[in-house]
């Protein structure tokens, strides 16, 4: 092995790149946003909500929701095919409890390959609401909503084929907060 590295000094680097690059790419295209870096905000928040509606719960819901019940049938249709719905939300008593770096760490993940910010989505809520879609080819692989107000920070991450119309219908269900997302628009902006 030593002689191999001696003969081809770039081999270790090449090997490392071959190992690491696919992992980085896979992570960058992961529709699940990592939010653990926000956990420290819980000590400053007046309320922190973590909702994990993962694939096993979605499958259970799809199995037990009654098709004859209009409400349950509609929810079943909405969640079919989804791999997870995750919500992390913080409410604060005062302004300035979270930093730009906290939010930027989320945006950095959403700048990865495949993610596109929908710039013309609006919300009835105050503050900024950013909506991102993850495209796998022509298929939607996930969606993320980042809602930042002076005293509230909310991240909604839906894994699986979801569009804005579906998101709007999911608002208020399963603990997904009502973000007041307005009608979907198709125009996209790639330079975030």
């Amino acid at each position: 092995m030593k002689s191999l590295f001696h003969t081809f000094p770039r081999t270790p680097l090449l090997v490392a790149l071959l190992v690491v690059l696919p992992a980085i790419t896979a992570r960058a295209q992961d529709p699940r946003i990592q939010l653990t870096h926000l956990d420290h905000l819980a000590t400053r928040a007046s309320e922190t909500v973590d909702l994990n509606f993962d694939e096993r719960l979605i499958l259970a819901a799809a199995k037990i929701f009654n098709d004859k019940d209009e409400d349950e049938a509609q929810i079943k249709k909405l969640i079919t095919g989804l791999k997870g719905v995750y919500v992390k939300s913080f409410e604060f008593e005062n302004d300035g409890q979270y930093t730009a770096a906290d939010v930027e760490a989320i945006r950095a993940q959403l700048r990865g390959p495949g993610w596109t910010r929908l710039v013309n989505v609006t919300s009835k809520k105050e503050g900024t609401v950013e909506v991102y879609l993850l495209m796998n080819g022509d298929q939607i692989g996930g969606l993320a909503v980042l809602a930042a107000e002076d005293r509230e920070l909310t991240v909604v991450n839906i894994v699986g084929p979801v569009d804005l119309e579906r998101l709007a219908k999911l608002e208020g269900q399963f603990g997904v907060p009502d973000l007041g997302i307005e009608a979907p628009k198709t125009k996209k902006n790639d330079d975030k």
Partner: protein, 179 residues
Amino acid sequence: MSRHHFKQVAVVLLIFSFASVVQARGDDFNSVVKMIEQFYGVKHEGVPFLARAGMKAGRTAARIKGGTARQIAEAGSIKLAVFEDQDFNGEFLKFRSTLNAALSETWLPFVQVLGANEQNYIFTRENNDKYNVLFISIEEREATVIQVTLSPKNFARLLKDPEGTGKAIAEEATINDQE
């Protein structure tokens, strides 16, 4: 080892492995209660004591025996531990990560709500054709741990409205007959 002995050993191993699985699943409620006791240096009160004292869990004692007043939880499925008039001072983030680590193998964390003086956790798991739900509520001076089994219909209610159904189950488990 003869074939006969091998069969005997296999049967014994099978029985023990089944027993340990049942024990592991069944023990999570007690583990959580002990975890709270150790983390916060508190002691829970048994349901019979509470029932005698006419405190919160009065009706629960009857329900555990399969009382008729149940609405949501399956008959006889409620496990309850109550901590009253004790201090729950400690790093709640540390407690949450300890709790999540302890339950992550067999339970799914569904909803976790942390407030300035309150922590609420709902964990779920499938149990054959029914669902186990574990509620943990910790406030400044009291805490409650409730485990119930729900029918698919009532589990659907919980999924649709975790807050409302969670409160209803907690009330059902801890309501005081004398109130």
